[in-house]
Amino acid sequence: MNHDPLYFLTIDTASSMIKSKELSPVELTNSFLERITNVDQDTMCYLEVLRESALTEARMAENEIVSGHYRGPLHGIPLAHKDLYDTSGVRTTGQSKVFEHRIPDKDCTAIARLKASGAINLGKLAMYEFAMGGPETSLAPQARNPWNTEYMTSGSSSGSGAAVAAGLCMGSLGSDTGGSIRGPAAFCGIVGLKPTYGRVSRSGVIPLSSSLDHCGPMTWTAEDCAHILKVISGFDSQDPTSSREPVPNYRDNLYEDVSDLVIGIPSHYFYDVNSGVDAETLELVKKAVIDLENLGAKIEEVKIPLIEYSQISNIVMLMTEAFTYHLPNLRTQPQNYGKAFLDRVYLGGVFSGTDYIQASRVRGLISKSFSNVMNKVDLIAGPTWAKAPGKFGQYDKLSMAKTPNFTSPFNQTGMPAISIPCGFNKEGLPIGLQLAGRPFHESTVLRAAYTYQQYAKLYETRPTV
């Protein structure tokens, strides 16, 4: 018998209860709507709560299940999504005044697939403006970290990270161009998966940088990530970068151990205190790697040539592509963008064609470096983020240049990468471990994450907000 409040159930548990008719989707959805009413004035996760449509969807799910039409593990499960996923008839803003009145006439592919699976949409979640600005946006206040609301969540999928952690939805779609799923996952103590490039359609998702953008799930457990990934993955003719690689059932080998896995440790960059990584973060990550070794994985030191250039290469490409997308609105309505966003996006207009090509050449070389390494190991492990969350008001607009970025190499190579909680620092804030795998080997990444979570059991601790 599970005694957690309904809003703290995992998707996997709730799903089993719904399937066996022990739990009503309406009851479950109401528990989240009540939780949002009670808590979200402190966490500021929701830009818009879709109360009426969520309850309508829940009633429909209940009727279908009662009459024997169970659609699968997400049927009747309340989710909520970053406000850059187009939702038919519902405002989708990118948390920017530029799109304040933008109402798409169709769902993006990922949301359409979730709807078809019977998932319920509780609403639209906060984010950094257009997935790149700082915490301050031109449209609405920013989501706050549920472990301590004085602290930031990281971005850009800020509302997704905070809402899952605070029990304001069971899972969420985030987007990741340089770490925007994995950063908030690490800071908010949840699981966030950036799948392989091409695995999940970006059609109908407001772009930041098309060659680096990835869509993926954010949940409380790796098992729940597997549930959502299975539904949203697969070829989509509307996204020219979509892959035809078959979609496996990500839970098929989730419960196997990790004794067949070799984990690569690139100590020259990810573990180098001289690169700027925080010592307390590093200590927790190293302990997690030892735990994985004790669980049966083989640990091997690896070297990834040129990795130190990945950060600037990512910045040049990301900002140049973002500048190109936003140029028409930058010309006509610059006053509707937030300053944090403008400080960055204008640089994209200053980088030269030579800069962009040089960055793409570096990207190619880094991909080759990883390709060589991934022939020898199954996973790369390291810290997700170099530092623990900072307080609101301490945000540094130059942080992208000052802090080493451990997530963007995997945007450049397109490899799948996950962040899972591996402990708490002295302030009681979560720290993330990042595991990256071979392209389209999300199953391996999820298996290692699941195995570690089952051992560490950090998922048993929820924020007290």
Partner: protein, 65 residues
């Protein structure tokens, strides 16, 4: 590349129809300079032209598999 002139930023942006005040250009210049040392290092990389064509592949995954 060891510095950048405000006029370079002004020119790059006006060329595409964005006109900013000189104060704002100076502010952007300070931000840009923070990235310069890294950019410089990237440009000075000894890239092998026979290995790297410079033609960006949209999907680098194929190279990895």
């Amino acid at each position: 590349m060891d510095s950048i002139e405000a006029s370079t930023i002004h020119h790059a942006l006006t060329k595409v129809g964005i006109n900013l005040t000189s104060d704002r250009i100076d502010e952007l210049k300070e931000i840009y300079i923070q990235y310069l040392s890294e950019l410089e290092a990237m440009h000075n990389l000894d890239l092998d032209a026979t290995e790297v064509s410079g033609v960006f592949k949209l999907d680098p995954i194929g190279e990895l598999e």
